[in-house]
């Protein structure tokens, strides 16, 4: 397939997991800290579905990215920085979504707090990966 098509597919596909993970972390934090809010459970549900869909969408982003870079796992310069954040973020995101799918709403507060710390770090890594991806695609 044409590289321009892969570039457009990757550009489109990457924004879903980035945005959904940020949304998930935001609502999970709201559900965690805002304990007396009657909508607390709704916040956690939004966080759950967002992270699950983000993980599913991340496969499309990763595969289109690999096709675009012709299978480069690291590369050089901006691409190395992009991949340096992508691989940990992708791997941990899939793990986080799996944990949420299994535990659902039965997590202890301590376990959910640990999850939130990891999810926030993953979102930060995902944003960094997006930044370096943008540097490659757009220059300045």
């Amino acid at each position: 397939m044409n590289n321009v098509l892969w570039a457009r597919m990757h550009g489109g596909a990457t924004h879903f997991p980035i945005a959904l993970l940020i949304v998930s972390v935001f609502f999970d934090h709201a559900g965690f800290w805002w304990q007396n809010n009657p909508r607390r459970r709704d916040f956690i549900v939004v966080g759950f579905f967002s992270v699950t869909i983000a993980a599913a969408a991340s496969f499309a982003a990763v595969l289109s990215g690999l096709a675009l870079s012709q299978g480069k796992l690291l590369g050089t310069g901006a691409m190395a920085l992009h991949h340096g954040f992508v691989w940990p973020a992708f791997s941990v995101l899939v793990g986080l979504a799996t944990w949420r799918l299994i535990v659902r709403e039965r997590a202890t507060r301590r376990a959910f707090a640990s999850y939130l710390v990891l999810a926030t770090a993953t979102a930060a890594a995902m944003i960094a990966a997006g930044f370096w991806g943008g540097e490659m695609a757009l220059g300045r």
Binding site: V62, L66, S69, T76, A78, M79, T98, W99, T108, L138
Partner: protein, 145 residues
């Protein structure tokens, strides 16, 4: 009960994390061009002297351009830069302003010195002649009278 479920979830999360990475590595193998093709390099990587402007250009090139033009500048997604038939001004203008729909602009990222260094590096790239060393030796041998 909750703890055992969380532990089970943690174990499965760990497995799925590694499985996702393994899938990415397998995917990389699928999308990687044939190894044989990569062994036949069209152009040897050009490494200019340590103190030259071109050497600074090469460092910038590897950080910002190699993912499209290839580490040896022999082309990947972007074109081969060996033996470019454009003036230095034109090369500098392309780096600064980009090419719409093809190449991003780097005008705000690179200083004038950076652009000059990159231009010098591109100028230092010797075009490939496309023949083997033995053939080239035969070609370069002076004709007998």
């Amino acid at each position: 009960m909750k703890n055992s479920l969380q532990q089970k979830g943690f174990a499965l999360a760990l497995i799925s994390s590694f499985a996702a990475l393994a899938l990415a590595f397998v995917g990389a193998g699928i999308f990687e061009p044939a190894k044989a093709a990569s062994l036949i390099t069209k152009n040897k990587p050009s490494v200019p002297g340590q103190s030259t402007l071109a050497h600074q250009g090469r460092t910038l090139f590897l950080q910002n351009c190699a993912h499209c033009h290839g580490e040896d500048a022999s082309g990947d997604e972007g074109p081969d830069l060996h033996g470019v038939k454009k003036t230095d001004e034109r090369i500098a203008r392309i780096i600064t302003n980009g090419i719409k729909g093809e190449m991003p602009k780097f005008g705000a990222k690179f200083s004038d010195t950076d652009v000059r260094a990159l231009t010098a590096y591109i100028r230092s790239l010797v075009p490939s002649m496309g023949f083997s060393p033995s053939e080239s030796a035969a070609t370069l041998r002076p004709n007998k009278p």
